[in-house]
């Protein structure tokens, strides 16, 4: 018998898509039964009460969670988000319902042994509810009480050999696509650099010293599966700068219909026979592909690395061999000054262990942003306020037409003294000798 009636939520159990309500009910029943005889450290009815308070929100159209209080583990300034219910008497099981962010393995691969180990900790010391995963990438443990925080941290670090993720004005848990582990498009080892830089910057991740949050995301090719250039302050996107490799026999197989275009991504509809001219050549944004006399030719110097031809004929076209990444900076969601995508800073950089060149770029950016950034100002906003030139300056990057979509529309240029011939400081009386008042 459910503790709270949930007639509105019950309507989310029907339909084919996995029902979180059914799942919550399953967990509530499992806790009530407690077949494994778990010594629950937070109220057994926590899931029942979550369903209850959610039903209340569905009834009155407003949330019932308060601002987070300052809770956490000793020595860290992030990783735990305090959360309290504003109806604690009605729903005592979720009166305290703090989130614990746990650092996810890069690429989100798991062994069941590890997963079982961490969820056993969460079974006993938390609500048994999770997000797999949070938006930034962490494993999110959803709902526990303050006295359990140190205990959970102790068991995660001592037994499962895993740490908390980031929150607050610090480096957030970095994330990468699955890169070389299972993708032929990977232009660099996104997982290796993501893990390496996560380990290198543990202090920045756990101890807030920044104006606001800072995110790294690593996409190993311009398809951008982790959305680096929309979702991270420091976006590393894989790219090549030589020739796309062509297997002409495989091209012929696509033209002949033996291979399905786009790896079969369009199989659910009859789009007609594959037409290499309209589907590949005409769709090329820089029109650098020609197909004539059964031969595909790419003018690689004009290629803008959009991936369309490679995506469309993955067995015939392969990324080049001179590989690395572009670095773009400053993406963020609308709060405060409107949404931003990352802007290109470094057109090409080699991404090889120990990744010193990439780390130098980020450390130069941090030195500047920590000095100049205002409270709660994302890097992208500091860039807009101070100018892109400033970012070039602090990262010792030479200006390049690739940095802009087009040159500026006004000549309001902030010339510096050393850019202009002759003395900068001048005597007005000398001037007046040549020009009467």
């Amino acid at each position: 018998m459910a503790k709270h009636k949930t007639p509105l939520l019950d309507q989310l159990e029907s339909g084919p898509w996995p029902s979180f309500v059914s799942d919550l009910k399953l967990e509530a029943a499992a806790r009530a039964k407690n077949e494994k005889d778990v010594n629950y450290q937070i109220p057994v009815e926590v899931v029942e009460d979550l369903l209850g308070v959610l039903e209340l929100s569905y009834t009155d159209g407003e949330t019932h969670w308060k601002h987070g209080g300052i809770v956490g583990v000793f020595g860290y300034g992030g990783g735990v988000i305090g959360r309290y219910c504003d109806q604690p008497e009605a729903f005592p099981g979720v009166a305290h319902f703090h989130t614990v962010r746990v650092a996810q393995p890069t690429g989100k691969y798991y062994t069941t042994a590890f997963l079982r180990q961490i969820i056993d900790i969460w079974d006993m010391r938390g609500s048994g509810l999770t997000n797999m995963h949070g938006s930034t990438g962490d494993i999110v443990f959803l709902g526990t009480t303050t006295p359990q925080l140190e205990e959970i941290f102790y068991e995660l670090t001592h037994e499962a050999n895993v740490d908390l993720g980031g929150s607050g004005s610090n480096l957030r848990t970095p994330a990468a696509c699955l890169g070389k582990s299972r993708c032929e498009y990977a232009c660099y080892d996104a997982q290796a650099i993501c893990y390496d830089m996560t380990m290198e910057f543990q202090d920045e991740l756990h101890r807030p010293a920044f104006p606001y949050k800072f995110k790294f995301k690593f996409d190993a090719c311009p398809n951008s599966c982790v959305c680096a250039l929309a979702r991270s302050d420091f976006s590393v996107v894989g790219i090549w700068r030589d020739e796309i490799r062509i297997d002409q026999e495989a091209v012929a197989a696509y033209v002949g219909g033996e291979f399905a275009p786009n790896a079969g991504a369009h199989s659910g509809r009859d789009w007609g026979k594959f037409d290499i001219q309209s589907e590949v050549c005409d769709n090329c944004p820089s029109k650098c592909i020609t197909y004539a006399d059964g031969k595909l030719t790419i003018n690689d110097k004009e290629c803008v690395h959009c991936m369309h031809c490679i995506n469309t004929m993955p067995r015939a076209l392969m990324i080049g061999n001179d590989r690395g990444a572009s670095i773009l900076c400053g993406a963020k969601a609308p709060i405060l000054d409107g949404p931003q995508l990352s802007s290109l800073l470094i057109p090409f950089i080699k991404v090889e262990e120990p990744f010193t060149e990439v780390k130098d770029v980020v450390e130069n950016i941090w030195d500047w942003w920590m000095e100049e950034g205002k409270n709660r100002e994302r890097l992208g906003e500091t860039m807009r306020r101070m100018g892109f030139q400033k970012l070039l300056e602090v990262t010792n990057t030479k200006a390049d037409p690739r940095h802009v979509q087009e040159p500026r529309h006004n000549p309001y240029i902030f010339w510096k003294a050393d850019e202009v011939d002759g003395p900068w400081e001048r005597d007005v009386n000398e001037y007046r000798k040549r020009h009467q008042r």
């Binding site: 059914s22 450290q41 959610l54 393995p105 938006s135 311009p222 929309a230 079969g264 409107g338």
Partner: protein
């Protein structure tokens, strides 16, 4: 419920403390076939919706079955995933950025058995536990936020809206019948933890009434200068009010300057702005993050407000269905929703979808607004 110590000693917090160890090394968790062929992948095929084949230079193959999840999941469900991975996949599994779970095996036979097993599992209410799909030119799983389940600033729920949208788009999740991939995101407020500002369809919770001011408590719980500085439009200013003969230091809000972003509430709990009738959803379309064919682009607001209609948000679901049906019928192969809208022109987008164009859809926020107005006689009647 007796307290069980982990071994942590609160009197000596640094005793045996382990910190700054980071995540586990991903190399520990790669299935052997991936480890053996790391960086040596030759090509891939999507054998059917939700089933991927990757072939390595060595000739090794890995079959992946991708299943949508609700993201909000219980450990009971995760244990079931572990049981499946133990039974079929030698104890390995992975999750994707878009909240899918992936099971990998090294042969076609194992893949067929795995898929059959996954599709047979349902919740008591009848929904699939592991719907197979989310690949290619279809609708992939929704990236989303916490909503009413666990957040203090939402203007809508996330888990519920995702459930009803995906119920309606289930056919598109389990098929490759769209012109190009369709990426949907739900963010329950403008903070956009789901960063949905570059999605084909972005569902964004918005508030529409200025914050309430809890004058008698504000100065006790908030730093007034921080609350003032938090407002991007300068609508918050310091003030004093007298209540029952007592003077309170507080703030005043210039209501005509407020665009309901809620940033002041993030800084100051005494400025709540959630409201049943005020809150709801703005629908944005046409964004993308991939560099394929066209450059990444922002989503654009095409419906300024859709009311919250829990539990199943029928207007929201119907509006998304309408847009996707028109896009599906009208767009070229490989053409993302935003590229299609730009090719036919936004005036045609509104005509074809039947969505009413209102003054709310014209940008008036700061400099970027001008660049969205039309400085040309090139338009269509």
């Amino acid at each position: 419920m007796a307290f069980v110590s982990s071994g942590y000693n609160p009197d000596k917090p640094m005793e045996n403390r382990i910190s700054d160890i980071g995540p586990r090394d991903f190399n520990e968790f790669l299935p052997p076939v991936l480890k053996n062929n790391f960086g040596q992948w030759k090509y891939h095929d999507i054998l059917e919706p939700g089933v991927l084949l990757h072939v390595a230079e060595s000739g090794d193959e890995v079959y992946t079955v991708r299943c949508g999840t609700a993201r909000l999941m219980s450990i009971t469900l995760i244990r079931e995933m572990c049981d499946i991975a133990d039974a079929h996949c030698d104890g390995y599994l992975r999750f994707t950025t878009r909240n899918n779970v992936e099971f990998m095996v090294d042969s076609k036979d194992k893949c067929d058995a795995l898929k059959k097993d996954l599709q047979s599992r349902k919740f008591d209410g009848g929904s699939f536990k592991f719907p197979v799909g989310g690949t290619g030119a279809g609708v992939s799983n929704i990236v989303h936020t916490q909503g009413w389940v666990h957040c203090h600033t939402p203007a809508t729920d996330a888990s519920g809206t995702v459930k009803v949208i995906m119920d309606d788009l289930f056919e598109e999740f389990t098929n490759h019948n769209m012109p190009a991939p369709v990426r949907i995101a739900v963010a329950c407020c403008l903070n956009m933890c789901g960063a949905c500002h570059c999605s084909d369809i972005a569902v964004v919770g918005i508030h529409r009434k200025p914050p309430l001011i809890d004058h008698e408590h504000l100065d006790n719980v908030c730093e007034i200068p921080l609350a003032i500085a938090s407002c991007p439009t300068g609508a918050v200013r310091p003030s004093k009010v007298e209540i029952d003969g007592k003077t309170f230091k507080t703030v005043a809000i210039k209501e005509e300057r407020c665009m309901y972003c809620g940033n002041c509430y993030t800084m100051c709990p005494s400025l709540p702005l959630s409201d049943k009738e005020g809150d709801g959803i703005a629908l944005m379309v046409g964004g993308k993050v991939s560099n394929r064919i066209s450059m990444p682009k922002f989503s654009k607001v095409v419906v300024a407000f859709i009311p919250n209609e829990p539990p199943r948000w029928p207007t929201l679901v119907k509006t998304i269905r309408t847009i996707l049906d028109v896009y599906k019928a009208d767009a070229n192969k490989y053409e993302r929703l935003g590229d299609w809208a730009e090719r036919i022109g936004w005036e045609r987008f509104f005509e074809k979808t039947g969505i009413e164009f209102t003054p709310h859809l014209i940008d008036d926020f700061r400099d970027p607004a001008y660049y969205t107005w039309r400085q040309s006689t090139q338009f269509k009647f």
